[in-house]
Symmetry: C2
Subunit: 200 residues, 2 copies
DNA sequence: GTCTATAAACCGATAGAC
DNA sequence: GTCTATCGGTTTATAGAC
């Protein structure tokens, strides 16, 4: 069956004036982007094909290329905006609560842009590089809130813990971490985080 | 240059008796396995090609298939034997030290079989499944050493922390975690681990 | 025991019809 | 604005020569 004809042409539609065309284009682009996000998060960069994205969005593969230029550019569009939270600051006492609040938020609502990056960070060089830049920024600001000679190392361990927890819950999904409420998780993590933040 | 002729034929060699052939075969298989391990660890399952493995081992691509049957079977051969440490037990007080000792060992010497699995666990279903089985076993035994109603969750968080640290050090390699001695790392981790293990 | 040749499938990307 | 057709490249895997 070479012609599923899903959606976009809309046989009995209004005559396409300039505005209607632009609107149609925006909506189709958004549908492609949503489908690409879902597939990149689910299977990673390498296993996600332009053809599969097009099929999931109900359009042709050529159209995806026409709108986004290349597979790499499409991936960058998906992961753009997946920036980490504004980075905690202030007195060391409050930093723990801020970090835990951000983690709880990430555990409750799936941050799809970040998940697309996380899924491919071990196998795609571009994803690894983008992730590295993001964590570097976050780590530096986190280290400033730690009053200890090994603040950098402590910040790095905190980030490793956070990434491990998020990966387990949203990506690996194997174990108790994805059936437990965020509140229960951060309650157990609070004392551990305190020991890593306690510099002075 | 279609004929690098690297190694195996050995022009002026002894006439291949039965034993010599078997020895040659074993050595060639070992070379292929070593090359495959290196590439799987470095770039993951999808980006590692049979052709690249063959070239790195100095043999032909057809020979790799002849010996191992398929790419998937080759990957299983590489990751087999990558079993986790015997799992800690005993009084809760000693468990922390045992886990930290195992982690220090994994941080010092790269456990290549485990690293091959870790590299591909987010993008390859088989790798994810094998990892899931391994961590399930380890988590159950670890939970038995924790005297608390939420022992399973605590064990899962400990594993998430360990995986996060190992991934950062050996795979991502971005940050202070891969330039710090294992002793310094586990020294910072000990108090955090204690809070996660403290059930009673 | 090792390699050559090739099959069969799939990919990203391009050019152009409608 | 959307789709058809296709090119050129790469992959795993097989069959068979030496």
């Amino acid at each position: 069956m070479p012609k599923p004809t899903a959606g976009p042409p809309a046989p009995g539609d209004v005559p396409p004036r300039g505005d209607a065309r632009a609107g149609q284009r925006r909506r189709t682009q958004a549908r492609i982007l949503a489908a690409a996000t879902e597939l990149f998060v689910a299977t990673g960069y390498e296993r996600t094909t332009i053809r599969a994205v097009a099929q999931a969005a109900g359009v042709d593969a050529g159209l995806v290329m026409h709108y986004f230029g290349s597979k790499q550019a499409l991936f960058e569009q998906v992961t753009r905006g997946g920036q980490l939270p504004p980075a905690p600051s202030g007195p060391p006492d409050q930093v723990a609560d801020q970090v835990l609040a951000q983690l709880a938020e990430a555990l409750a609502n799936e941050p799809v842009q970040s998940l697309a990056l996380l899924r491919s960070m071990l196998t795609n060089p571009e994803a690894a590089h983008t992730m590295g830049e993001g964590t570097l920024r976050y780590r530096n600001q986190l280290a400033q809130a730690i009053d200890a000679p090994d603040a950098d190392l402590r910040a790095a361990l905190i980030i490793a813990l956070i990434i491990g927890v998020i990966v387990d819950r949203h990506l690996l999904k194997s174990g108790p971490l994805n059936t437990t409420t965020p509140a229960d998780i951060i309650a157990l993590l609070r004392p551990a985080l305190r020991t890593l933040l306690a510099g002075a």
